[in-house]
Every structure is written in structure tokens, then in C-alpha cells.
């Protein structure tokens, strides 16, 4: 399971007081030393682990037979020299080089010629309203796992061009905004669980949660985020959400394994992670979890893996646990972009013995 991104330390200091010549000489000397070190840098290390063969193909799939494509699949050939876990990430761009959607794959390979697959989310292709053919670009092949470390093996910006798809050929996402309002006092431990069934294709399953905001609150609700060594605390009118607990769990059943890829948009940067591969237990249940999902950005979470033999659908269960400190009236505009369709179960338990709601209302607009 990928863990939260880090925030780079900003090391700022004022140069205003450093005008004296002797000080400037020292600074110039230090800069010269730093530049000398920088010029000695090299980029590559280690032997070749794997390479992209340049063999690509694409096709769109309608998993649930509703007449709309759910995914655009791009197969990529890879040549593996060093056996192990590999991640492939890539983006689709339109003819005017506008970025449309990201995807990732992660598999455990022996050596030799292998195939990886990027399943691009149909909901995002439809939502962007940009027609193909699409260019597959910014492709990165990486060896390793989230726990052991990753090593880039191959990077290519202009890899492949897909067939001529129309965005309207893909499934239309539904993202209504919801409002939760009320007034109360006390501490609640809130657990939200989502159960859903996802059809398989070619023995695999994949599900994308695209554009998920953390926290999933619309801009009309002011949210103050403060960081600490334990994580991030959120403050909204009438509600305070401390950093811990922050358990986020994904369980897949009737599978052979589970992988999770995450793309986070943070400011003007994009960060990607792909988890290690978690194998299923004897009952065919695989689980990935994290306690470090951080706020302040938009996420694309991709859940994928191999289904158990002859399974036509897999069950996915996502759950998150948070503590809420409610003190007075609140009204939250909830941005449900990216929320999965499925059965939601919400469990609220009063902490410290007492909690009261004077009123609570949930509006689905």
C-alpha cells in the first residue's frame, strides 16, 4: 500500500544582512564547492534490469456490457533480465498534447519477455471530452517495491499512439455533490466502509478512483490543515478531525493478489507511487493498508491485480476510520468526485461516553 507523500523541507534564510565583502567571498567559495560537486554527478547506477521492447497494442473493454467502454487497455512488452516486482506507469495525451489520464501496472516477473498492461480509466476519458487517437507518454518502468525501494529501469516520453477512440465511447461518471449538516457536541469514532463488486476481464480486475479530494470537502467549506509529526489535523467550522487514527484499508476477495497505485496532484507537481504486490491468503482474500494518506491534494487511486481462477467478478471493500470532534453547528459540502458506486456502511461510536446530535441532515443534490 503506498504511503503518504512527504513535504520537502524548505530551508530559507535571508541574504539581506550578508552584504559585507568578506561574507560574499565566503559564499562564493561555498557555491564554487557545491557547483564542483554537482558537476561530478552521474545519473545511472547498476546493471540493466529490464527494458521496454517497444511492442505495444491497445483495445477498449466494456466490462459490464452497458454499451460503453470502461477501460482503454494498452499492452506493453517488457524484457526482464532481473526477476522481481516491476511497475509500469504512463499517461495518455490527446493530439494537442493535453494530459488526460494516468495509469499503472505492477507485476511479479521471472526473466524473459513479458507483457504489462496499462488500463486507462474510461470515466476520466469521457469526462475530459478529448478524442483520440491518444499518445502514450511519460512511461516509466521501475523495479522494486514500496517497502524495499524502487529503481527506474526505463523512461520514454513518446511511446505509442492508440487507435481513434471518441471520448463519448467511454462510460459517463456521475459525481453529485452532497451536504451533511447538523449540530452536536462530543467525540465520535467514524468508520466508513464501501463494498462493491467489480467484473473481471482476461483474468484481471482493476478499479480507478479518480479525482478524489483529500479531505473530500468542496471548496465552499473552509478547511484548515495543520501538519504534525503524527500526520495532519483538519479544522472545519464545528468539526475538528485529528491526524490519528487514519487507517485506510482495501481488501479484495476472490483474487490472487492486490496492487495499489496512487497519483497525487499537489500544487503544480504530480507524484506517483505503486505498492508492493500483496498475495491473497488461502481463502482468496488480499489486503493493502496504510495509515499515512495525507490531505491537501487530488488523488487518483488505482486498485488492480489478478483475479482467482475462473472468477467473473471480485469483491472490493474499502474502509477508513477517523475521529471527529464536534463542537456546535456544522455544514459540510462533500465533494463525491471519484467516490465508488457501491454499498456504503457508516458506523459512528461515541468516545468518552457521551455524544449528542441536536440535529443532522444529509442532502443528496
Amino acid at each position: 500500500m503506498p504511503r503518504a507523500p512527504h513535504i520537502q523541507d524548505a530551508c530559507l534564510f535571508s541574504l539581506r544582512r550578508l552584504a559585507a565583502p568578506i561574507t560574499m567571498i565566503v559564499i562564493v567559495a561555498i557555491m564554487a564547492i557545491l557547483l564542483q560537486a554537482a558537476s561530478a554527478q552521474i545519473l545511472s547506477m547498476g546493471p540493466e534490469f529490464a527494458s521496454l521492447t517497444g511492442n505495444y497494442s491497445d483495445r477498449a473493454v466494456d466490462i459490464n456490457n452497458d454499451g460503453k467502454f470502461d477501460y482503454l487497455l494498452v499492452d506493453a512488452g517488457v524484457h526482464i533480465i532481473y526477476p522481481g516486482e516491476y511497475s509500469l506507469t504512463g499517461y495518455l495525451y490527446d493530439r494537442n498534447n493535453r494530459e488526460i489520464v494516468w495509469s499503472a501496472d505492477h507485476r511479479n516477473f521471472s526473466d524473459g519477455m513479458q507483457t504489462m498492461q496499462l488500463a486507462f480509466d474510461g470515466k476520466t476519458l469521457e469526462k475530459m471530452k478529448l478524442n483520440g487517437p491518444y499518445r502514450l507518454g511519460n512511461v516509466t518502468l521501475t523495479w522494486g517495491t514500496a517497502s524495499d525501494g524502487l529503481m527506474p529501469c526505463a523512461m520514454i516520453d513518446d511511446a505509442y499512439q492508440t487507435g481513434p477512440y471518441n471520448s463519448s465511447d467511454f462510460v459517463d461518471p456521475v459525481t453529485p455533490e452532497k451536504f451533511l449538516s447538523g449540530s452536536g457536541s462530543g467525540e465520535l469514532l467514524l468508520s466508513i466502509t464501501i463494498n462493491m463488486s467489480q467484473p473481471t476481464f482476461s483474468g484481471r480486475y482493476t478499479y480507478d478512483i479518480v479525482g478524489l479530494n483529500m479531505p473530500p470537502i468542496s471548496v465552499s467549506t473552509p478547511v484548515k490543515i495543520t501538519g504534525s509529526k503524527n500526520g495532519y489535523n483538519l479544522s472545519m467550522p464545528g468539526i475538528y478531525i485529528p491526524a490519528k487514527p487514519n487507517n485506510f484499508t482495501i481488501t479484495a476477495s476472490r483474487v490472487r493478489n492486490i496492487n495499489v497505485g496512487v497519483l497525487k496532484l499537489q500544487g503544480d507537481l504530480q507524484r506517483t507511487w505503486v505498492s508492493a504486490q500483496f498475495a491473497a491468503d488461502a481463502r482468496g482474500s488480499a489486503r493493502a493498508e496504510s495509515d499515512l494518506i495525507s490531505p491537501g491534494g487530488s488523488y487518483h487511486v488505482k486498485i488492480f491485480g489478478d483475479a482467482a481462477e475462473n472468477e467473473t467478478a471480485v469483491n472490493l471493500t474499502m474502509s477508513v476510520t477517523k475521529k471527529l470532534v464536534v463542537d456546535g453547528p456544522f455544514r459540510l459540502a462533500i465533494n463525491t468526485t471519484g467516490f465508488p458506486d457501491g454499498a456504503y456502511r457508516i458506523n459512528a461510536r461515541a468516545l468518552n461516553g457521551s455524544f449528542s446530535f441536536d440535529e443532522i441532515e444529509y442532502i443528496d443534490v
Binding site: A19, T23, I81
Partner: protein, 197 residues
């Protein structure tokens, strides 16, 4: 700015420089210890290379282009999953041997000169991104390079040794080992590559 302030500032800068020197010195000790371990590992891998059970291995063939030249590659895979890749030029001369240990283990790469002598030995540990390299010169001297790419700065120790085994020079430097824009993240415990949105 008064003279006293200038002196204090200058002393401060000197203090920071002394601290960075101290950090570099600490890394030299760390890398020397790591190099000793990697040398032992390399010796063990050399033994494994020499005793690799080619006769009992599954054998496949492929071609590979490196530095503009095409090599014939023979791939041996033993019963434990260890892989030996032998690269030979079109005349059949051995160019490179790559021993890949099973289970995310280390990789030993031995490159030969046109004369058939060992030109370079490299041991790479993918878990941790550590590499120890020995580059041999015709005059009998060699260069030993210990690199730990998980360390952001002062992560490479280069030692030059003469033909008698005496150290000629020792230098610490920074070699990232990852492409531009890729960094090690302490929180995620993995390497991340950023790109402009």
C-alpha cells in the same frame, strides 16, 4: 554591519562548513565499513560464479546490443533460480558475465578487456541501492568505488590503490544514481519521480 557582527557571521559560516566536513568524515567511515562488507560479498559471488552449475542449468539464448556492438547471450538458470548471463562477441570472446542471485539478491557483473583480462567487477545490491566496483588498470593499479545511493550526499567513496595494494588516494563525492527529478522519500520509504503537471 558592525565589525563584531561580521566576525560572528564569519564564525557561523566556518562552523557550518566544519559541520559539513564532519558529516563527510562520518560518511567516509560508514562507506569504508560498507565497502568491507561488499568486498566479502563480491568474493563470495566470484566463488559462486566459478562454481555455477552450467551443466545442470536450463539454457536459453538471446542477442543484446551494448555500446553499438551486438553480443550473443547465453542464459543459464540453475535449480535455485540463480541466473548466469554470458555475453560473447561475434568471435566468441567473452565480454561480460552477469551472475543474478535469486530472491532479489545481489548481482555480480564481470567485464573483460579485449585481451581477456578482468577490466571491471561490479557488485550491486538492488535492495538499498548499493554498488561496489573495482576497475582494473593494465599497470596493476585499481580503483575501488563504493556507492550508496540511498544517502543523499557524500554517498560515494573512491579509493585508488597501486599494484602493491597501497592506497594512493581516497575521495568522497556525491553521485545520485537516479534520474533527474527522482529522490528518495523518507516517509514513503521509496524513490519518487516528479514531473510538472
Amino acid at each position: 554591519m558592525t565589525g563584531v557582527k561580521r566576525i560572528i557571521l564569519f564564525m557561523g559560516v566556518l562552523f557550518i562548513m566544519a559541520l559539513s566536513q564532519s558529516a563527510a568524515a562520518q560518511n567516509v567511515t560508514y562507506l569504508e565499513n560498507l565497502q568491507t562488507k561488499m568486498q566479502e560479498e563480491q568474493a563470495s559471488l566470484m566463488e559462486s560464479l566459478q562454481t555455477f552449475d552450467k551443466a545442470g542449468a536450463n539454457v536459453t539464448h538471446e542477442q543484446l546490443t551494448d555500446g553499438g556492438k551486438t553480443y550473443n547471450v547465453t542464459i543459464y538458470k540453475d535449480k535455485d533460480g540463480n541466473i548466469l548471463r554470458e555475453l560473447r562477441d561475434s568471435d566468441g570472446n567473452l565480454y561480460r558475465e552477469v551472475l543474478i542471485s535469486s530472491g532479489n539478491g545481489p548481482i555480480l557483473t564481470v567485464t573483460y578487456s579485449e585481451e581477456g583480462d578482468v577490466a571491471k567487477r561490479e557488485t550491486f545490491e538492488p535492495v538499498g541501492l548499493r554498488k561496489y566496483t573495482e576497475i582494473y588498470d593494465k599497470d596493476g593499479s585499481k580503483e575501488q568505488i563504493m556507492q550508496d545511493a540511498s544517502q543523499k550526499e557524500n554517498n560515494t567513496l573512491t579509493t585508488k590503490v597501486d599494484k602493491n595494494g597501497d592506497i594512493i588516494s581516497k575521495e568522497i563525492s556525491t553521485t545520485p544514481g537516479l534520474p533527474d527529478g527522482c529522490t528518495f522519500c523518507r516517509n514513503t520509504g521509496q524513490y519518487e519521480c516528479e514531473k510538472k503537471a
